[in-house]
Symmetry: C2
Subunit: 142 residues, 2 copies
């Protein structure tokens, strides 16, 4: 999704956990919608799990989008023109920061900038989950 | 720090927890260095705490940089030309994503994009720590 996407659409998607399977009071059009791939750029029907949502559930994706996600190609396929891309400080690989899809693809460096997970593990003896450090950091604001 | 900063310098800073107070075997030049503000763009001496480092310690900053950090102005002061900036999907406020300094300034949206913390709290009944959701997400990779 590009950064120019509809704010309303994004907010609605987030608050209502978009694309859930609850179709108890749906019209046929919303039933179709509920079966659609979570990727707003895709019209296929969902069939497989994608990234974790904030609720803990998974985004449900079509086969093609799920494959792109599993292979780490989702952002470069669908978010190429979105903002937020940064280069790994070690190898230069571009990573889509500020995107829930690429949350596991990089780690933050103390002095600023990022390292892709391959470089983080290689250069920084990185052996914890990428977001665990973020969680620890957040405790300072408790 | 801009994305063009030295890779070596960044890696060293991360691995050795740069700017620590351990000066037991330092020359006078390295002693001076150890008293310097953690912000590589600043030559002042450190005096106050800044952001949390991955180790759990705090970056030690000079008074001016610490003030900028406390007031949420650090990235727009020192990282303005760096990559990674994204606009809040609700209000458009620009946030420096992929930067440890601004880790607490935004939350990730399910469908992609970000919300600044003010909009996240207002629009999404957001009442957990910004990184707690990230931590929960990371558990899926355990």
């Amino acid at each position: 999704m590009s950064s120019s996407s509809s704010t309303t659409a994004t907010a609605t998607a987030t608050v209502t956990n978009n694309n859930s399977n609850n179709t108890s009071c749906c019209s046929s059009s919303s039933t179709v919608l509920s079966r659609k791939c979570f990727n707003s750029d895709c019209m296929d029907f969902k069939s497989r799990k994608g990234w974790r949502l904030r609720s803990g559930d998974f985004a449900e994706l079509c086969d093609r989008c799920a494959s792109a996600h599993e292979e780490g190609r989702f952002c470069e396929t669908f978010h190429l023109n979105a903002s937020g891309w940064r280069g790994c400080e070690s190898c230069g690989k571009r990573v889509h920061c500020g995107c829930i899809v690429s949350l596991q693809a990089f780690t933050l460096l103390d002095a600023g900038g990022i390292a892709c997970m391959a470089c983080a593990r290689k250069n920084f003896c990185y052996d914890v989950k990428p977001c665990l450090a973020s969680f620890i950091l957040s405790l300072s604001f408790s």
